[in-house]
């Protein structure tokens, strides 16, 4: 087998036993890897509660990982989300995916529950368990150095132990498997960390062809202003997008009450540059290096984090944003959900949070102290308990990120129908609606957006399965990546062939959510976006979204995706895609 190792590591924490499983090659070809294979292995168990011992926590790399294919150092973590109840997956960077592959594994499937707090060390095909009871309650910074000696690592912090529903698994110190509370699933298995080190190299079918497709991809990246341009994310990180959402009047401000933040100019990427003098850092196998680390070691916030700890909280102090980001990384919780839940709290209590208050509330959340315990359940549960669920800016209980849907209608639809709740990364319409890639579309119309969203979801399902980074698709396309895939695996494949697999992978997620009771009622946006205008100005008008148009686009999406008009999978489409209802 080329590209894949052909082996999956099964670990049962209840018995501390492990064994290797060799999936059929058809399974690999049908699901590729990463998100695709993880979804395949999750499906039979997805109806269990997230903390059921049989609920698997799944880590998968893809065929391109640890090869010279650009941006291929990533992997997927997947389980059922404690926050949303939907499938919960995250694409994560750092080194873990590459080491996993080099250790000879395409993936790890963790089940069971340890009776005491445990750590796992994997070195090639050897797996060792050790007591981690001493690390209980430790913030990540207190034991990161210790773990780093043992290779790449994944760990949880105090937030997971406090049952924060948006607790992250943190990789290599500051790469998060975030958004869905996967850290809480990790912790529910009584696991504190996993380390991994590998000495192998994956077999590549045709190195020359891979070199050629690598050059084609790098050339497109170099020609992409968003990626490698003077103002692109290679220089400024994802923070580069901050000025753009500001100038397009789609910057979520004060819990999405407004879409323009007066102080944004003082909180932009350039401001961070001047104060922190960052250097580039990034995942194994990537040349974009979007992670920015300040001269004294401060990890600078990503775009979403910047927005949610500044504009969303009406805070113009960037050092507080950096501190809040640091706390979330150290405690192991999702910055988007943490920021948005604070914004919801601020709106409901009528407070403008001071910088001190932001910091103390985050610590209260992470340690389940006082009001922090309620906030740690996410904004939906908090606002519902408060009697005002509409103040929670969530889709399927997942807090929305930093693009106001009134400023980009494809994004609005993408948020609503995403299989993991309010997430921008499934369809990522920001490419065409804001960044003009591959070509610009009119951001204030739903016309044509249903199919654009559907195709983009399929593309990104493939990207997360190969596994590559979504950013590079601001330059390259599956046309070039399918050549890399064929060069690595020896399986001739076109971009369109891969898209068909992406469709299968995404539909499988719809089936899993449907099995857990999700319907079209859940594919919806908070009421605010249909009732209230955003902050118009500078010749840009931001009216509320017209509900009728949204519903029509959603209906179109269901038709195009092959779902019934209730958003449920159909037997015909299930069969056409080679999937089954029950496993």
């Amino acid at each position: 087998m080329f590209g894949w190792t052909g082996k999956v590591l099964r670990i049962d924490l209840s018995s501390r036993r492990y064994y290797a499983e060799s999936p059929d090659s058809e399974i690999y070809q049908k699901y590729i890897g990463g998100k695709g294979l993880a979804g395949f292995y999750l499906k039979d168990f997805v109806a269990r509660e997230w903390d059921h011992p049989e609920m698997p926590l799944i880590f998968f790399t893809g065929p391109l990982v640890a090869t010279p294919a650009p941006t291929s150092g990533r992997m997927t973590v997947m389980s059922r989300s404690p926050l949303t109840g939907t499938i919960g997956d995250a694409s994560v960077g750092g080194r873990f995916g590459s080491e996993l592959k080099k250790a000879g594994w395409d993936g790890i499937i963790l089940t069971g529950k340890s009776d005491a707090l445990t750590g796992i060390q994997i070195t090639d095909d050897r797996v060792a368990f050790s007591d981690a009871i001493d690390l209980k309650g430790y913030p990540l910074s207190r034991f990161n150095k210790q773990l780093k000696k043992k290779g790449a690592f994944a760990a949880v912090g105090p937030a997971a132990e406090s049952r924060v529903k948006f607790a992250n698994i943190m990789f290599d110190g500051h790469y998060a498997a975030g958004r869905n509370g996967l850290g809480l699933v990790f912790s529910a298995k009584n696991l504190k960390y996993i380390t991994i080190m590998g000495t192998g190299t994956p077999a590549i079918f045709n190195r020359d062809a891979l070199k050629k497709s690598r050059e084609d991809i790098l050339r497109l990246a170099a020609a992409s202003p968003v990626l490698m341009g003077e103002l692109g994310i290679t220089h400024f990180g994802t923070a580069a997008i901050y000025d753009l959402t500001g100038s397009r009047r789609m910057m979520p401000t004060e819990n999405f009450k407004h879409t323009y933040f007066e102080a944004a100019k003082r909180c932009n990427a350039h401001a961070y540059h001047l104060r922190y003098h960052p250097k580039k850092s990034g995942c194994t196998g990537c040349h974009i290096l979007c992670k920015k680390i300040g001269r004294n070691g401060d990890v600078l916030p990503e775009f979403e984090t910047m927005n949610h700890f500044s504009a969303l909280l009406n805070n113009d102090d960037i050092s507080t944003v950096v501190e809040a980001n640091q706390i979330c990384n150290d405690m192991g919780m999702d910055t988007i959900s943490a920021g948005a839940t604070l914004a919801c709290y601020a709106e409901l209590t009528g407070k403008n949070l001071s910088t001190k208050h932001i910091v103390s509330l985050l610590m209260d959340m992470a340690l389940a102290r006082g009001i922090g315990k309620a906030l740690g359940q996410g904004s939906f549960e908090y606002a519902t308990a408060y009697g005002t669920p509409e103040a929670s800016m969530t889709v399927k209980k997942l807090e929305l990120p930093a693009y106001d849907p009134r400023g980009a209608y494809g994004m609005a639809l993408g948020y609503a129908v995403s299989t993991r709740g309010g997430c921008h990364l499934r369809a990522y319409p920001i490419g065409n609606e804001v960044l003009r890639k591959p070509v610009p579309t009119d951001r204030f119309t739903f016309s044509g957006k249903a199919r654009i969203v559907k195709i983009a979801e399929d593309v990104n399902a493939v990207v997360d399965s190969l596994t590559a980074c979504k950013f590079i698709f601001f330059g390259a396309t599956l046309e070039e990546y399918s050549k890399a895939y064929a060069a690595v695996t020896g399986i001739e494949s076109s971009g369109q062939d891969l898209l068909k697999i992406g469709e299968r992978i995404y539909y499988n997620e719809r089936i899993m959510n449907s099995r857990n009771g999700f319907t079209k009622e859940d594919d919806d946006l908070p009421k605010r976006f249909f009732d209230e205008s955003g902050s118009s100005g500078n010749q840009i008008n931001i009216p509320p979204i017209i509900r009728k148009d949204f519903l029509q686009a959603r209906e179109n999406y269901y038709t195009i995706r092959g779902l019934d008009q209730n958003g449920a999978p159909t037997p015909q489409k299930t069969e056409e895609l080679g999937l089954s209802w029950n496993g």
């Binding site: 202003p225 003077e230 400024f236 901050y242 990427a269 044509g448 199919r451 046309e479 076109s494």
Partner: protein
């Protein structure tokens, strides 16, 4: 709101890429909408059921493209390979099939953005917008034109021309319009307000396209005013730049210009290091063709890598030819173009296009671009008649 399929149909006709009545465009959300009834629709419609796309274009190209592309396609059974920047970066190569039926078209569009069927036309597709079908179509025409003329002159120099080649060339040549008399008076600078800058940039883009020097999607324009460079956005149309201009502070203090043209670094380097404030970049065809004509190519150690490694200092008359790829990085034109433009007020990029600069307004760079194209066309035909 005008449907995009009509918008791009109109654009292709205006730019004489196709003849009125020829282009067939479709877009699909839940239902396929065609721009017209046409006998080719039964062949084209099944493509949507097999590919994850939302737009499709089929059209025979107008002359001289039609003769050129049919000729190139008939010389190959499989793909047209090209070496200009446009193809290298975006198209990679151009697939060819010889039957106009759904199966073969689908097979090739699975791999690439376009397919050529000699005697019939070109099919292109998009996954986001009909705009992609238009951009791809336009790129195919440009790349094939450049390849055809460059190969012909090279063969002429080497004395390799057949009777048949000459006949085709005569036919193609008869379709070429004479070089136009240019009479354009662009706004006089220096400009003293942001509004004036926006107006001047939008104004300058139009004649470049309307005179047929540069295709709509192939270029970018900028102007420095105070400490900001105003530049056309990535993927914008030179003849429709209103609302497609990004202000980029010279000190990078704002990233709003992240949507600016991919050649922003080159424009910035020029204005940071010279008194020039108006810059025009475009891909006029004969300048691109002449940049690729090299008598030493066959025996050169860098043959095949000319676009980045050519060791010669080359000129068309007094205009320098430089190497480099689009965008940024050690091989990029932001390293090679600025010094050449600062010294010569213009530079031709190998297989790619032309940069020109002026101090106060766009009159100078506009006329310079025209005269370079005119000169390259003259050089081309004098090359043909001397060989």
């Amino acid at each position: 709101m005008e449907r995009l399929i009509y918008r791009y149909e109109k654009k292709m006709i205006e730019q004489k890429l196709v003849l009125p009545g020829d282009p067939v465009l479709a877009e699909l959300d839940t239902e396929i909408v065609w721009n017209r009834q046409h006998p080719s629709i039964p062949v084209l419609e099944p493509i949507f059921s097999k590919l994850n796309i939302n737009s499709l274009l089929f059209s025979p190209p107008a002359e001289p493209y039609r003769s050129i592309i049919d000729h190139l396609a008939e010389c190959t059974s499989d793909v047209i390979t090209l070496k200009d920047n446009e193809t290298r970066t975006f198209l990679h190569d151009i697939p060819v099939i010889h039957t106009f039926s759904p199966g073969p078209i689908i097979n090739r569009l699975k791999q690439r953005k376009c397919v050529v069927i000699p005697g019939h036309g070109i099919v292109t597709c998009g996954t986001v917008s009909p705009e992609q079908t238009y951009v791809n179509f336009s790129s195919v025409l440009f790349s094939c034109f450049v390849k055809y003329f460059a190969d012909y002159l090279t063969d002429a120099i080497l004395g390799n021309l057949s009777r048949e080649q000459r006949d085709t060339f005569d036919r193609v040549n008869s379709y070429l319009k004479p070089f136009p008399e240019v009479d354009v008076h662009l706004k006089k600078g220096p400009f003293s307000s942001e509004d004036a800058v926006y107006g001047a940039i939008s104004e300058a883009g139009k004649p470049i396209v309307n005179y047929g020097f540069v295709d709509s999607v192939m270029g970018n324009i900028s102007y420095r005013y105070q400490n900001t460079l105003y530049i056309s956005q990535t993927g914008s149309f030179l003849d429709e730049l209103e609302s497609c201009i990004d202000p980029c502070p010279i000190d990078n203090s704002s990233c709003t210009g992240i949507t600016a043209s991919s050649e922003l670094p080159t424009h910035l380097e020029i204005v940071r290091n010279s008194a020039y404030s108006a810059i025009v970049h475009g891909h006029p065809k004969f300048a691109v063709i002449m940049s690729m004509i090299c008598e030493k190519e066959q025996n050169c150690a860098f043959n095949g890598m000319c676009h980045v490694k050519c060791p010669e200092s080359r000129y068309v008359r007094n205009i320098p030819i430089v190497t480099g790829e689009s965008g940024t990085g050690p091989r990029a034109i932001c390293n090679t173009v600025p010094p050449a433009v600062i010294d010569h007020q213009a530079a031709i990029v190998y297989g790619h296009g032309v940069f020109t600069a002026g101090e106060d307004d766009f009159n100078d760079p506009f006329y310079r671009l025209c005269s370079i194209e005119k000169m390259c066309r003259e050089e081309y035909f004098s090359g043909i008649s001397h060989s």
